[in-house]
Symmetry: C3
């Protein structure tokens, strides 16, 4: 129940940031809604398709499609206000990341998949939506270049997996890793932490 | 039966326009055939994978692969003539869109999916092939920027869904929405109708 | 057994060349590992998703994920040495292509799919990883522009299919087509063979 509320906030936040990305590319309203749905629901869809976990979330709950499309159109309408809410958005976006990650881990746990796959399932759920958004906007995915997105997702997933083995209250198991992941993400943004890069210059191909 | 004939004309037309797009990017013959197959059969494949509707069309009917690849190679061979057939192509391309849309809706209806998903299934079948083509050609998908593609697809799907509830002759139920969608598309092209755009300039990410 | 050894060498080689591609785009370490896993395991994943062949290889054998990620990080660490191993890499990369192709054909054969789909399954397994890598790096896929990749894959697959009908020792059936395909690829690289291109200039869309 708590997770459902968090999930709906998360897809709304992802849809709104995606709509702004679409606006930066001068997309029309159909494009804005498409990018929003793909970003908010694409991570889960990629996970479900790869794990063979049918039916997909939005096939079972088409109302999520309306929520994301609605949030995207609302964002386009009130875009000027958005600028002032910048920091709120960063927070909501980070929340989306950790919520999606935990949901992805949960689903893979329920399918009794090996631990590596559980972690990866969390990362795919958390990050693939943003990668798809960047591909549709014809960018090199941001995930692969900077930001600690994937690292935050991996940390959150690992903590959640660890917490499963402790005999804590379900809310602690759920919220603990999320709060730590979220704080780490906000710290990383604030202090501009980055993963080391691998720079290679050589035209041998 | 009628739908099958229309489907084969539609994949041929999509393969031909895709081959021209590949030619604009100087692709080799393998690339031309790949782009043609992905554009003509990709929309249906994305739909089937997302809905878990196996086996895919071209796995069951590999002859469609030969039809699209053949149409693509033919197009490359007679490319100079293609220029004169410009308006015929726009018509065939629009026909492909409405035929794919109706087929996509039909399949989702047979699977007894919710109405939002039926509409979306039609839009994915109609539009995803072109989006994949643009991704492979390294463009921002045209669908998301201009053209009334998605809107035409949604209109056709909605009319088809509505017609299901009336007690009309199956051919009318099938052809009516297609003809209205097709006319709308040709009008949109002619009068240069566009969806309103959302333009947002701000580097907050 | 032999095929398993070849497969592991192949995913390692693919992961290493993918890591170098990621390094050319200044990706961070997460990006390097992602690109490596997608390139090495993506072709098989696309095939399995399209054919509905679940569970995917890396879900059943998550150790392959560790092998590819490990190979990618190793490559980033010893990148300067890589330059000298240029020709070894081209050989390993070509080996990956033919091994993946044969595995893809085998899986489709086991599923008793039509012969066109068996060939295509081999090509998808061999080539789709590289296409995904190029999409994530925001390039027009190399496959579609030059290189004889797809042609080598088709040749290898066709020879393997033909060899199935002869009553040869399994090792000959397996290795013969691979060796011919590999030689063809190395010759194509050496002599700079290319497929004819289709160049089309006209803005009619």
């Amino acid at each position: 129940m708590l997770l459902l509320v968090l999930y709906i906030i998360a897809i709304t936040a992802e849809a709104m940031t995606a709509a702004l990305a679409a606006g930066r590319r001068d997309m029309d309203w159909v494009g804005v809604c498409t990018i929003a749905c793909v970003t908010a629901l694409g991570g889960g869809s990629v996970r479900d398709v790869l794990l063979g976990h049918y039916p997909l979330t939005w096939v079972q709950h088409p109302e999520y499609l309306w929520i994301t499309a609605g949030a995207a159109i609302l964002t386009a309408l009130i875009a000027p206000i958005m600028r002032r809410l910048h920091s709120l958005f960063l927070l909501l976006d980070a929340m989306g990341l950790v919520v999606f990650t935990v949901i992805g881990c949960q689903i893979a746990l329920e399918m009794k998949l090996p631990i590596t796959v559980v972690l990866l399932s969390g990362m795919i759920t958390g990050c693939a939506g943003g990668v798809l958004r960047d591909i549709l906007c014809n960018d090199i995915p941001l995930l692969l270049r900077k930001e600690m997105y994937a690292s935050v997702s991996m940390l959150t997933g690992a903590l959640y997996l660890g917490a499963q083995h402790l005999d804590w209250h379900p809310y602690v198991t759920l919220l603990g890793p999320m709060i730590i992941g979220l704080s780490f993400r906000m710290l990383a943004l604030h202090r501009n932490w980055q993963m080391p890069r691998f720079v290679y210059r050589d035209e041998w191909r």
